[in-house]
Symmetry: C2
Subunit: 329 residues, 2 copies
Amino acid sequence: MTIPFQKLQSEFNRVLVSLGFSVEKAEICATIFAENSRDGVYTHGLNRFPTFVEYVKKGLVNPGGTPTKEGALGSLERWEGNSGPGILNARFCMERAIELANENGIGCVAIKNTNHWMRAGAYGWQAAEAGMIGICFSNTIANLPPWGGIDPRLGNNPLVIAVPRKEGHVVLDMAISQYSVGKLNQYKSNRQELPEPGGYDAEGKLSTDAAAILHSQRLLPIGFWKGSGLSLMLDLLATVLSQGKSTAEVTKTENESGVSQVFICIKPDSSNPTAQLIEEIIAYSKSSRPVHEGGSISYPGENTLRTREKSLKDGVLVDERIWQTVLAL
Amino acid sequence: MTIPFQKLQSEFNRVLVSLGFSVEKAEICATIFAENSRDGVYTHGLNRFPTFVEYVKKGLVNPGGTPTKEGALGSLERWEGNSGPGILNARFCMERAIELANENGIGCVAIKNTNHWMRAGAYGWQAAEAGMIGICFSNTIANLPPWGGIDPRLGNNPLVIAVPRKEGHVVLDMAISQYSVGKLNQYKSNRQELPEPGGYDAEGKLSTDAAAILHSQRLLPIGFWKGSGLSLMLDLLATVLSQGKSTAEVTKTENESGVSQVFICIKPDSSNPTAQLIEEIIAYSKSSRPVHEGGSISYPGENTLRTREKSLKDGVLVDERIWQTVLAL
């Protein structure tokens, strides 16, 4: 079923206010949850909202927690997240990185003891809307084995890179696992084969069987050994720059609370050549002949815009059962 | 066969001086070429040296070309590479990024019209040696199809992330292709199967047959659609920040000259907790049970140090035929 965007937003808002969120904070949080579903990232929009509410009730997320500055050197800042809502803390940090980049060309804000920011890409869109190149990443609980290992010791640490563009921002939003646990569960329930290998089965063979991968817990990092290395580096950067919890420590919390995140903004030269260079790169990529007849090449963020338009026109797609849960909160 | 490091370095030096390099420039370039082989990156050490010499003779690389500043906003700078040797330009830019980060916490230097920097990781090690977190990447000629496409339209755009560490820096140095063309050729010559899929064959099936992948030209980006997006973003960042040639334009040069690169440095808090946090992350990753009995988990850069030690003790491994070529130059 579909629900108008405004209705989705106002229901989230109602629940958040009832949980003790200030009017202003409830508004921002509700809007981002609704936007995540609007843009097609249902797993981090409506579908995640009941879990978020539970975390607030458990005291893992403090509705009143706001970031406080812990240290700074020029355009590099370190903040304490005080267990505030991940969405609000992340919005705040990207806003601060935008200010720093406006003043100094580039800015970097690291935050510790924050919470799950839901859809990582939201903060890339935020930077791009402000005309900034945005880069951000978070560590997570361990859910990927390091290369050569069996037991999960790395996070799938989402990474976002955004470049502003008048005709639609280019926003890459990817986790370091080939498929998320949520996605694997979805393929398992539908008894569908994964389109590409997503991990190893219990015998150590590369597999497209979601159930076998979930059983072995040997999810594939992107690019095998390469993603394994990239995940470790993102954890190192997030932990060192924020002086916060590493994936090792976050894993001990069991609830994935108190994570570490980094937000970088760079101010692009907004003169004419920049826009032309971006179009040239996108056009060149799209000039590749498609693998499947009638297929086309998309740039990161292109499908998001398409889904957004459709959601605003026809309503946002929701899982009816979860929607009823939220209505009853 | 093996050659003492000093001998390798002095031969490179001799050739470079004969090509018109200043004494100082020849020394730096020769040292980095020798270090690349010393650290086990033979493809971008001795093995690439004859091609480099050819590029200088063809006028694609100008031994006297040095970077000139084109623009700056605070800690963000834009430089023109003036077709100088890629190694020297890259060393210069990372040095400048280190200075900017020392002054202001973070610094970013973009350069256009530069040349192949050989081993990308060299500049990560450079940053880490200076106690800095270093991030750098380059665009390249198109050698990967975008996701959903057949024809190469993306570069394998190497990406480096380095974190300084007393017991050995952590340095990730990876291209966005699962295997380089050089690596595929090596597997093809040896009639060996790739350990993991490296691309698609002419029928569009995922393959571990290097010859079939080289034939189809459908090399795999890391993580399928994810690496495809990441490669595009790195090209966008390098091109926009340097206002230089994109992969589309570099591909037209046919020789991969005039590429665009970005160098970012961030100053880590060098107080005690930082070192502890790094050790905690590495130790946690190594605590995963190995897939193969007796196996172990390595952090990025760990094997480099091992190869380096061995090369300095027993001599640097060289391809005798290429070594003879260099001696005759």
